[in-house]
């Protein structure tokens, strides 16, 4: 479709597409796979195999008594929770505010939920190195089987909710796939679509279910990140009672969730041929949220730092040293630069936000930052020899990863991405029903000397 210009501004092509074109584009990946997709899947599979071997050779063979051997398992778990775990929260937020620009983006944020099986498996392995709550700092107050049972309940509920949220949102598109794809390829969609016919009742169910599952997903995500931050990081560092830290970790996660979505948008636009769906409008709006979360990242770090700095008790000085100033100082600097300074100095400019490269590059930097920050946090918490002290007396040296650790992390991360890639064979992207609804709800009209868009608001 040709790009028209009125008053020197490019008009979004997405909303001019015919609905039949949207159906074809949405089903294209289900019907067949391109070379790029197959190559990425192959790389992910190799990574997964390498990761599993490194996992067995490394932490499993070391056993659960050596907590430090599990550092990079925890780091991988943390990175996955912060990125693919939080991306569906981004989708929920976009649905709540009901913007129209989000329509091609929602599915891309939700599809990451498919990969949540990987952090869930890692979580169950990590439970083995977690001490029980007797004699140490904890917020479980001696509840039975704490923290194992309650952390597990939270994580399992989160993963199930994530799958449910994705499924409910994709159900109408699976019905379209059922009706459009002939032969065996369409068979699985007959089962998955569960007789969806698009009646008013069907749509009301979808709407309600998305609302409830989305809200629960966000609540469970926040709860899970709170218990992970508490049990896997703070509880293992003597004297650490920073009440803001769970919120800080959750906000980092949300920032990374937006980043992984924007990064994926760039990949899908340039390699997936979806430039008509993922235009400047989508990057511009998502970049504003990226910037806002970057500022919140700084705010939560600053509030923690300044209270410890003003207090300056020996306990707080030790915490400042271990997390900020001594063994992981350069990691903190890199994380700070990529997660706060880069969104601030790149995305603060409107012209940059209105482009595509700026937000995409920033999202890549944020993803680097979240990896580095998780390395900093888990390396610190998994290095302390005695967690039962009231405060840190000596600052443990920085943990330097071995080859096994790096292979494990890279492998498992690649494997998780591969699981998400497999999701594109079952879940149409872009979201056919949402994008089509957006097309119907937008009308161009002449208004005085200019042209405007009327956006329908049926809710």
């Amino acid at each position: 479709m040709e790009v028209q210009e009125i008053e020197h501004r490019e008009l979004p092509r997405l909303w001019e597409l015919p609905p039949q074109r949207v159906i074809e584009d949405g089903l294209r990946r289900i019907r067949g796979s391109g070379t790029v997709y197959k190559v990425m899947l192959l790389i992910s599979a190799v990574c997964a195999i390498v990761g599993i071997i490194a996992f067995i050779v490394g932490p499993i063979s070391s056993g659960w008594n050596d907590r430090q051997a599990w550092t990079y398992v925890a780091i991988t778990f943390g990175i996955l929770m912060c990125t693919i775990g939080s991306a569906p929260c981004f989708s929920v937020c976009l649905r709540m505010v009901r913007g129209h620009w989000r329509r091609p983006v929602n599915r891309l944020a939700e599809i990451w939920a498919i990969g949540m099986i990987v952090p869930l498996i890692l979580f169950f392995f990590l439970l083995g190195i977690l001490p029980d709550t007797v004699g140490r700092s904890s917020f479980w107050f001696g509840w039975p089987v704490s923290p194992y049972l309650w952390d597990s309940v939270m994580m399992v509920a989160l993963v199930i909710c994530g799958y449910g949220f994705l499924y409910v949102g994709a159900l109408p598109d699976m019905a379209i796939a059922r009706d459009q794809i002939e032969g065996e390829g369409g068979g699985i969609f007959t089962r998955l679509s569960r007789g969806f016919r698009g009646t008013l009742y069907d749509w009301q169910i979808i709407d309600r279910a998305q609302g409830i599952l989305g809200a629960f997903y966000v609540l469970l995500y926040v709860g899970s990140m709170t218990v992970i931050a508490g049990d896997f990081i703070e509880a293992l560092v003597p004297g650490d009672n920073s009440a803001i830290f769970p919120a800080q970790y959750t906000i980092e996660g949300l920032e990374a969730g937006i980043a992984v979505t924007i990064f994926a948008m760039g990949i899908m636009r340039y390699l997936g041929g979806l430039d008509e769906y993922l235009e400047a409008e989508q990057f511009f709006a998502a970049a504003k949220l990226q910037l806002a979360l970057g500022l919140l990242y700084f705010y939560t770090h600053w509030t923690e730092f300044i209270i410890w700095w003003y207090g300056r008790t020996p306990r707080e000085v030790a915490l400042l040293k271990i997390f900020y100033f001594e063994p992981y100082f350069w990691l903190f600097c890199v994380a700070f630069a990529t997660m706060f300074l880069s969104p601030l100095f790149i995305l603060v400019w409107t012209r940059v936000r209105m482009g595509i490269v700026g937000p995409w590059v920033t999202s890549g930097l944020v993803l680097v930052g979240i990896i580095i920050d998780n390395i900093r946090l888990y390396s610190a918490s998994f290095s302390t020899p005695n967690i039962y002290l009231q405060e840190l007396s000596t600052i443990p040296k920085a943990y330097v990863p071995g080859v096994t650790d790096i292979l494990l992390a890279v492998g498992l991360l690649g494997g998780a991405v591969g699981v998400c890639l497999l999701g594109f064979k079952l879940v149409p992207y872009p979201s056919i029903w949402e994008v089509t609804a957006g097309i119907y709800l937008r009308v161009r009209r002449k208004y005085l000397k200019t042209e405007v868009v009327l956006i329908g608001k049926p809710n």
Binding site: I6, R9, L11, P12, M96, V97, S137, S138, F139, F141, L219, V222, T226, E234, G239, N241, S242, A243, I244, F245, P246, A247, Y299, T300, T303, E304, I306, I307, W308, Y310, G311, T313, Q390, Y440, L441, V443, R445, Y447, T450, E451, V452, V453, L454, I455, G456, K457, P458
Partner: protein
């Protein structure tokens, strides 16, 4: 926005200027009642100035009482204006239109009211003047500029001046409208305030851009103000005060109470000024949904603060937490916090039919602010009461009649100022409503006609 009735321009102007042009019986009753309470407030302050701060319930351990709790409360209420006005203006949410001015003006008056409290609580504020100015090191006084108590006035004054500018800029078109429709002293007043605004394209462009820029600036200021207020407490090493979560916790609590106060104000404006066509159920529905998110976030931070006060199992912290949970009056206040602040209003707001019920929204918003005032007391006072380990100093704080009169008087002050404002200036932005009417439209989707909003590309 979408349920709006289609009125002519003249009808909209007449309706929205009704509070300025007419004074109803309810107005007079409100003026008299609030004026009476204000008089008691002035008397109580004068009594305190004459007899000293001994007339308050303060004692050696409890050097701050409900005056400082009230200060924190009003700073919190002031956050509503920026939350609603700046954020919704930047995100171009249509439902903000009738709400922004009332929220911004409430911010202004809440801030002014809050600032009276640290001023009068010194007992002899005239002495404050001559030791504060010149505030430098020439006289051998070395104020600790790192103290949050020094940062606080800077932050609050910056916030107040920014808010005044923000309110002023967004009111200029309405000043111009009033200038063209008034005579006598009002005409002179509005002419000065309107700054020659004629509604040209350039003037509208400058006014709009100024509003956006000020909104963006105000957002950073609003976060910093209540963070610094929280650091008045958290920077010290007092047990249960010294917590890393207090800054965002105070900010989100401020938003929770402030936005609830805006709901109260919306309902009162609708009833007093007959703004049924302008402050509609859909506005309460939208703000109710916002409050569910804000309230839940606040509850998360509240729980983080409580859990991490108990985290280290420190004997001092544990003793204070036991006092907070199980001793009078903190047990009662905790009940208010949980029940009024969250467990009654938020479940109610989950249901659309209750969000669209003005009476329900009004009363739940009042409950929230009862809960939030209790929360400030519950946060501040226990740390002071058990600050030191000498048990002979553990005297309970009992606010006296002077304390209570001053606190009640602040509510009357804000209400009175809002009423006076509504007599001079339209409480709902006329130009914003007219613009909203222009931007409203309809599109045909199949057989259905769907409400729509105009947006530029």
């Amino acid at each position: 926005m979408l349920e709006r009735h289609s009125h002519s321009t003249e009808q909209i102007i007449e309706d929205l200027l009704r509070p300025v042009t007419q004074t109803t019986t309810m107005n007079w009753v409100a003026f008299i009642v609030l004026g009476g309470v204000l008089s008691a407030w002035v008397f109580a302050i004068g009594w305190m100035f004459y007899w000293g701060t001994g007339v308050l319930g303060l004692n050696r351990q409890n050097i701050w009482g409900i005056l400082i709790v009230n200060f924190v409360f009003w700073i919190g209420i002031s956050h509503a204006g920026v939350m609603i006005s700046a954020i919704l203006r930047l995100s171009q949410a249509e439902w903000r239109r009738p709400v922004t001015r009332a929220a911004e003006v409430m911010t202004m008056f809440s801030l002014m009211t809050a600032m009276t409290l640290p001023f009068i609580h010194t007992g002899r504020p005239w002495r404050t003047a001559y030791w504060v100015f010149p505030y430098d090191f020439w006289r051998g006084i070395w104020p600790d500029v790192r103290s949050a108590l020094v940062m606080d006035p800077s932050a609050v004054f910056t916030y107040l001046s920014g808010t005044i500018m923000f309110v002023y800029v967004t009111m200029i078109p309405d000043f111009a409208l009033l200038r063209d429709r008034s005579i006598g002293w009002r005409h002179a007043l509005y002419r000065v305030l309107a700054l020659g605004f004629k509604g040209s394209e350039r003037q509208w462009k400058i006014q709009t851009i100024s509003g956006f820029i000020l909104a963006a600036i105000m957002l950073s200021i609003f976060v910093s103000v209540h963070s610094i207020v929280s650091w008045d407490f958290a920077f010290s090493l007092d047990p249960v005060w010294h917590s890393t979560v207090w800054a965002p916790y105070f900010v989100i609590g401020a938003v929770h109470s402030g936005v609830s106060a805006v709901v109260t104000l919306m309902a009162l404006m609708r009833w007093m000024f007959k703004f049924d066509d302008y402050i509609r159920e859909e506005h309460f529905d939208a703000i109710g949904r916002l409050l569910v998110v804000v309230g839940s976030t606040w509850m998360w931070f509240f729980l983080l603060d409580v859990f991490f006060d108990l985290w280290r199992q420190d004997p001092t912290d544990d003793a204070i937490m036991r006092m907070r949970f199980f001793e009078w009056p903190y047990t009662l206040l905790l009940g208010f916090i949980f029940i009024f602040g969250y467990f009654i209003p938020v479940p109610i707001w989950l249901f659309r039919r209750f969000r669209r019920n003005i009476k329900v929204m009004f009363w739940t918003s009042i409950l929230v602010n009862i809960g939030m005032w209790s929360e400030r007391y519950w946060l501040v006072m226990p740390g002071l009461q058990r600050k030191f380990q000498w048990t002979f100093d553990w005297v309970p704080y009992r606010p006296g009649p002077v304390d209570i009169t001053i606190v009640l008087g602040t509510f009357a002050l804000v209400g009175f100022l809002l009423l006076v404002f509504a007599k001079l200036f339209p409480p709902v932005p006329v130009w914003d409503e007219l613009e909203g009417q222009r931007f409203a439209g309809e599109i045909q989707v199949g057989k259905r006609s769907v409400p729509a909003i105009i947006r530029e590309f």
